[in-house]
Symmetry: C2
Subunit: 352 residues, 2 copies
């Protein structure tokens, strides 16, 4: 740390993203889609669009917000777009919970929530999961705190029902409830319908997982228009042109191509179910993950050792050295063939 950095950040521990690699490996560690983006993305990034990059991108993001609004049957003033959903989460936690405000989140969840709490000076309460790794909605009912919950949760993949989400939202009317639906496309429609009923709900989504666009960095939030106006106020005070023209065009084209993505999502779900069944047949304990990853543990080998042995074989998965989940691996659902290679490798390691 230099002598110039504010003392507020002395103890800040940044988020550690999953490893990015250049070498040829089977990469099942950051929940990317195994499919390329929709061909409409390639069409949208035309020579004409690229040659006009000398002009600023639209800070209001009208084209992209309209395209998203249409998909979710809301108006564009109920949509906020960020440079990845991390950007949306950062503005939301800074704006609504920052500087001594409150935030509650599951103890086991997206590892970034505690980092946001730290950087923005938020009083964070981390609520333990039940023994089966599920979230107990009752723990969040009427707690009079801002709340962020990943649904499906990560890295467990377990889902809260919309009824459970509604109980949490309706019982905390004076606080913001953020439902981070990064993985929702792999199991359902999510809770955005509730936004018409509740002014304190922010639903966060991303193009990174279901829409094969992790490298494009586009995420969004849907909420009552007053919440969106607040988020825009912060954005215009931090980085008004937060999404570039290429991302605007590509994401707007992608989100309209339901045929393409419905098919890809269905194929990922199919491979997920098949792989979970195969791992269970090998004696693994797998959660009922509804996301594009599997959360698995074996009695025969520690997760740390299995992670290392798979890595030696050129298969990258994610291992979190964190109490309660240190014996689990989070494995992205990749291409069907790669998952077969994975299962064979695991079989060889555990039985060979």
């Amino acid at each position: 740390m230099s002598s110039f950095l504010s003392k507020n950040y002395e103890k800040l521990v940044p988020y550690v993203p999953g490893e990015q690699v250049n070498t040829k490996v089977i990469k099942l560690n950051t929940n990317e889609s195994p499919f390329p983006p929709s061909p409409k993305v390639l069409q949208a990034l035309s020579e004409d669009v690229i040659n006009r990059l000398n002009l600023y991108s639209d800070p209001e993001l009208k084209e992209l917000r309209s395209a998203i609004a249409e998909q979710f049957s809301v108006t564009p003033d109920m949509v906020f777009c960020g440079n990845g959903s991390d950007d949306v989460l950062a503005f939301a936690i800074m704006g609504f919970c920052g500087h001594g405000g409150s935030l509650a989140c599951p103890e086991i969840s997206y590892g970034f929530y505690p980092v946001y709490a730290d950087i923005f000076g938020v009083e964070l309460e981390q609520i333990p999961l039940k023994d089966d790794f599920s979230i107990n909605a009752e723990d969040y009912t009427g707690i009079n705190k801002n709340i962020v919950i990943a649904n499906p949760n990560a890295p467990t993949g377990l889902v809260l029902s919309n009824d459970e989400v509604e109980k949490i939202v309706s019982s905390n009317p004076d606080n913001l409830v953020i439902i981070d639906e990064a993985y929702m496309a792999f199991c359902g429609k999510g809770c955005s319908e509730l936004i018409k009923k509740y002014k304190n709900l922010l639903v966060v989504r991303t193009f990174s997982k279901s829409h094969s666009l992790a490298g494009l960095r586009v995420g969004f939030g849907i909420a009552d228009k007053e919440i969106i106006a607040d988020l825009n106020k912060l954005k215009y005070s931090f980085n008004p042109y937060n999404i570039n023209t290429l991302s605007i065009k590509a994401a707007a084209a992608a989100i309209a191509d339901n045929d393409y993505y419905d098919d890809k999502i269905a194929r990922i779900v199919e491979v997920r179910e098949k792989t979970i069944a195969e791992l269970r047949a090998l004696g693994f304990n797998c959660t009922e993950s509804k996301a594009n990853f599997i959360f698995a543990s074996s009695d025969k080998i520690s997760a740390g050792e299995l992670y290392a042995r798979l890595r030696e074989k050129g298969i990258l998965v994610r291992h979190f050295s964190k109490p309660k989940i240190e014996n689990y691996l989070r494995i992205t659902v990749g291409a069907a063939q790669d998952m077969e290679t994975l299962v064979s490798a695991i079989k060889e390691i555990t039985e060979g």
Copy 2:
């Protein structure tokens, strides 16, 4: 404002970007380049790159930081990249000046500096310019505050020499001095050489102006590696994947194409000088702008009226309703033909 937003942001007044328009106008209001980006940008955004957007971008930005480091004869660990230079400025002011820290900047300068001070709780001192709109380096010597200066300054276009910058940097060794060189490519090499000598200097640059890539959103900072490590610590706690793969590839290709951009910059400078001469011949007072814009005032017509009359004719320039400069227009140096149209229009308006 919703009832959920932190009271800290109640009085926050966001930055107002220059107007973006869809209709056919001559757009001389946001200092964009009139030239398309280098053809190497188009090549870099290949079908293969686009089809691999399912994978995350490199959060370390190795390719882009190396390309920039090479141009500035520094090492990649002395380069920090942001989603536009606004992103770099935001992290720097948050990290080094935030939460009761200090910052001094010229009273007339980039309008975003006071907004950053506001959102991050910085004690801001705005130091008046001299009567001729130049910055008095003495006003910043040994003031024991963090400092941000745009050089060339905006909207005046006036430049501080490297000797003056060095006096400011060397006399405030315990504070960070940010030199925002967004427009430096239009007049010189800038002060990045000084970084090898001073640990408290952060030089900020952008691809938006000189590199015809405003729509791509890439900016960067060059500083001692400890400052860069601090900025990365904040980035990894806010938005680790802050630049997408397309921007990484396009910006890395652009910055290496000196032949293309040297030519375009020379043409912009030539048109700037010609237009300034023509406006002066019409009785205008123009600063000695070294940027890609002209700062001009007339005794014959108020800037507010001239702005409106030009707008009626489909020519968009920027007018700041701010004391001391309310009678000036900031006019981007556009294509040669557009500048001729501008001068003719001004002649018609002012001479009837």
